[in-house]
Amino acid sequence: MKSFMLKCGVAAIALGLSTAAQAGKSEDTLSVAFTKELENVDSYFNSAREGVVLQRAIWDGLVYRDPATNEYKGNLAMSWKWIDDLTLEFKLREGVKFHNGEPFDADDVVYTVNFVADEANGVKTQRNVNWMKSAEKVDSYTVRIHLKAPFPAAIEFLSGPVSIYPNEYYAEAGPSGMGLKPVGTGPYKVSLVEPGKHFVLEKYEGYHDSPKGQPSIGKVDIRTIPDVNTQMAELFGSTLDLIWQVPADQAEKLATMDQFTVANESTMRIGFLTLDAAGRTGEKNPFTDIRVRRAVAHAINREALVEALLKGKSKVVSTACFPSQFGCFQDVPSYGYDPEKAKALLAEAGYPDGFETEFYAYRNRDYAEAIASFLNAIGIKTNFHMLQYSALRELRMKSGVPVSFQTWGSYSINDTSAITSQFFKFGKLDDARDPDVRDWLDVADSATDPEKRKEFYAKALTKIADQAYWVPMFSYNTNYVFTNEVSYTPTPDEVLRFVEISWK
C-alpha cells in the first residue's frame, strides 16, 4: 500500500518532468544535482562545497594529494623542493594546454599566485591564499613561490584550493568572466554555465597524464535542485543519475531499493557548539563561567546524535579539529553525557534553575533542534534562531552570539591549521580570545619541525577542550546515491570527483 502510493506519487512527478533531458549511459551523460546555488564558478570567489567539486574537475593544482594514500604527487608541477623556509621551487610539467588552447607555463603560475595573494583582489577565503607572498619565474618551466612566514602546510594547500589559471585569459576575463566561461587545464571543460542553475561539463580530450586519472564519462550535466524530495523523484524518474549530500534517513530508505547504490563516506566536516567564553555578548553572559560551559558539554548526548541522526560513518568528536588532520591531538579531556552532573555544575555556577539564552544555527535544523532540546533538559531555555549562513556569520563577526551550532569542513585540507587556527587566533569569529591558545597555534602553524607542530597543536587543543571553549560533537558523513549504471567509490573528503566516475 505504502509503496504503491509512493510509486503513484513518483509517476506523477516524473510525468511532470518528462520535458527534462533524459540522462544515463546511453547518452553518455551523467546528470547530477546540486542542492545549493553556486554564486560564482571561479573557485577563488565562492566558499561552497559545490565550488570545490567544480574546481577539482575544471582546474588543476601544482600538486595532487592521492585521497586513498594521502601521498603528494606532481600534477602541473613535476617536482618541488624547499630552497629555504620561505621559498618553494617547482619544476613544471611541459606540454600542458588550457581548454582554450593557451599553453601552460611559468607565467600562468606567477600570474595566478600574484593575483590571489594580493588581498586587494578579494579572494573569498583569505586563509587559503594569504600565506603566499608572491611568485617568481626562474625560467619557462621553473617557478618559485615565496611565503610570508614559514608555513609547513604549504604543499597541502597547493594540492587543494590553489588552482592555476591561464594568465592571458584571466587578465582579460577577470573573476566574473572566469565564472561565466571557466577555462582551466582540468579533466573536464565547461560547455555551459547558467549561473547558480545549470552547468554542463565535457570530457577534455587533451587532458595531460595527471595523477587524477583520465575522465571516462563524456558529459556531466549539473542542475541546482534545492529540494531533496524533488531530487529523489528525479532519480526515480531517471532524469538524474547521481545525487549526493542525501540526508541519512532518506539514504537509508533508498538503500533498500535494488536500482540504486548508496555509498556513505565520512567527511572532514565537524559539528560543534561555539560558546561565548570571552563575553562578547555581554560580561554577565553565563558562558563566561567555565562551569556553565562544562555543563553544556555534559548535557549533550553525542553518541545518540551520531547513532540516531547522523548515522553512517560519522563519529563522536571531542577535539576542535577532524581526527585525520595533521596535528589533531586526540587525547584531550572529554565530557561524557551526564545531565545530572550538568545540572549540578549549573547550580554551582549560580543557576540552579537554569537560564534563558539565544541559540543560533544555520544548517541541519533537525540536529540543531535535538541539541537545543538537550540544553532544555538541563534547564537552559533556548530561543531558537535559524539563520542563513552568511547572516549568522555576519552577526557572529559583529557582536558574537551566546551559543551557536556551527560546522566547518576545513576545505578538505588535512591539517589542523585549516580549522583550529582559523577560529582561535583572535579573528572575528574567535569567541574564546585566549592568548595562550593563540600563541601556541602561532608556533604550531609556522614551525617547520613536524614534531614541534604536533606538540604545540596538542597544547592548544588540550586547553580548548579543558576550558570547553567549543563543544565539539560529531563528524559529518555524506551519502552518495546513484543508479546501478554508475560506478563510483567516494573518498572521505566530501569532494565529488567526476574523473573517477565511470559507467558500469
Binding site: D249, K253, A308, L309, R365, E369, A370, S373
Partner: protein, 298 residues
C-alpha cells in the same frame, strides 16, 4: 403544565425569537458540524496537559519516526513519533493550543482595531470616513504574508511576535464590513430616536448600533480567525513563525516535509488537523451568518 402553557402561547403568538433561533441553529447542519468540531478541538486544547499521553518536548532519539497505529505502530505512540522521537499525538494536541490561541487572540486584536475604525467611519462619515478608507486602502495595498515575513525576519519569530503581527495586519475586513453595516443601521428610526432624546454618542453606538451589527462582526471574526491560523501555519512552515521546540502544526508539516516521499503521514496528520480546524471555523462562520442574517428572520 408549563410545557402546555408554552405550547398554548406559541399557538396564539407564534414561536418566540429564542425558539426561532434555536430551531434555525439545530436545523443548520454546517453550523452544527463546524461548531461541534471546534468545540471538541477547544476542549482538547484546554485539557492538553491531561489528554496528551507524553511530554510533547521529550525527545527520544532512539525512537524516531515510529509509524502511527494504523500503519503498524504500537499504542504507546498512537500517532507515531517525529524526527526527534517526540510523541506525535502529544505534539498535535499541544499544537491545537498554539493554533487556537493565535487564531483567537489575533482575531480579537484585529477585531478591536477594525471595529473601532469601521464604526467610527460609518457613524461619523465625512473626514473620519475618508481617513479610515484611506488607511484601509493602504493596508490592502500591502500583501499580508510579505509584511509578516519582513517583520518576523526583523524581530525574530516567537509566539508573541506572530500574534501581534497577525493581529495588527488582519483588521481590514473588520473595518470594511463594520463601516458598511454601521452606515446601514445609522439611518434607522431607532437611532434617530435615540439621538433625538439626547443620548450621548457612546450610548448610541454601544447600545443602539452595536447590537444590530454584532452578527456581522462574529462572522468576520470567525473568518479572520481561520485566516490567522492558516497564516501562522504558513509562517511556521517557512521557519519564521513559532520557533521550535514549540509544537505548531505548520512547523510539524515543515519538519515532516523532508521525509514526505517515504513517511507521508508526518505531513498528512498535522495537515488533516489544520484542514479540519479551518474547515470547522469556516462552517461555523457560514452557519452563524445564515441563522443571524435578517432575511432569515421572516
Amino acid at each position: 403544565m408549563a410545557r402546555t402553557a408554552d405550547a398554548l402561547l406559541e399557538e396564539i403568538h407564534g414561536p418566540s425569537p429564542a425558539q426561532l433561533l434555536r430551531r434555525r441553529v439545530f436545523g443548520h447542519q454546517g453550523l452544527l458540524i463546524g461548531g461541534g468540531v471546534l468545540a471538541v478541538l477547544f476542549v482538547v486544547a484546554v485539557l492538553a496537559p491531561y489528554l496528551a499521553p507524553h511530554d510533547p518536548y521529550a525527545q527520544d532519539l532512539l525512537a524516531r519516526m515510529r509509524p502511527p497505529v494504523f500503519l503498524g505502530g504500537d499504542w504507546d505512540h498512537p500517532l507515531g513519533t517525529d524526527h526527534l522521537g517526540r510523541d506525535y499525538l502529544s505534539r498535535l494536541i499541544y499544537g491545537a493550543q498554539v493554533s487556537l490561541l493565535i487564531g483567537s487572540v489575533a482575531a480579537v486584536i484585529s477585531g478591536l482595531i477594525g471595529t473601532a475604525m469601521g464604526v467610527a467611519a460609518g457613524y461619523f462619515g465625512g473626514r473620519v470616513d475618508m481617513a479610515v478608507t484611506f488607511l484601509v486602502n493602504v493596508r490592502l495595498a500591502m500583501p499580508v504574508v510579505l509584511v509578516a515575513l519582513a517583520v518576523v525576519a526583523l524581530f525574530g519569530g516567537s509566539l508573541q511576535v506572530v500574534i501581534l503581527v497577525l493581529g495588527l495586519l488582519l483588521w481590514d475586513r473588520f473595518a470594511v464590513v463594520m463601516r458598511a453595516s454601521t452606515r446601514q443601521v445609522r439611518s434607522r428610526e431607532y437611532v434617530t430616536a435615540a439621538r433625538a432624546i439626547g443620548c450621548s454618542t457612546a450610548r448610541v453606538v454601544l447600545s443602539e448600533i452595536m447590537p444590530n451589527i454584532v452578527n456581522n462582526l462574529i462572522v468576520v471574526a470567525t473568518l479572520e480567525m481561520a485566516h490567522a491560523i492558516l497564516l501562522e501555519a504558513a509562517l511556521s512552515f517557512l521557519g519564521l513563525g513559532v520557533q521550535p521546540p514549540t509544537p505548531s502544526w505548520g512547523l510539524m508539516i515543515a519538519e515532516g516535509k523532508q521525509m514526505m516521499l517515504f513517511e507521508p503521514w508526518l505531513v498528512t496528520i498535522p495537515g488533516v488537523a489544520l484542514f479540519a480546524l479551518v474547515l470547522a471555523i469556516n462552517l461555523l462562520g457560514d452557519g452563524l451568518r445564515d441563522v443571524t442574517a435578517p432575511e432569515n428572520r421572516n
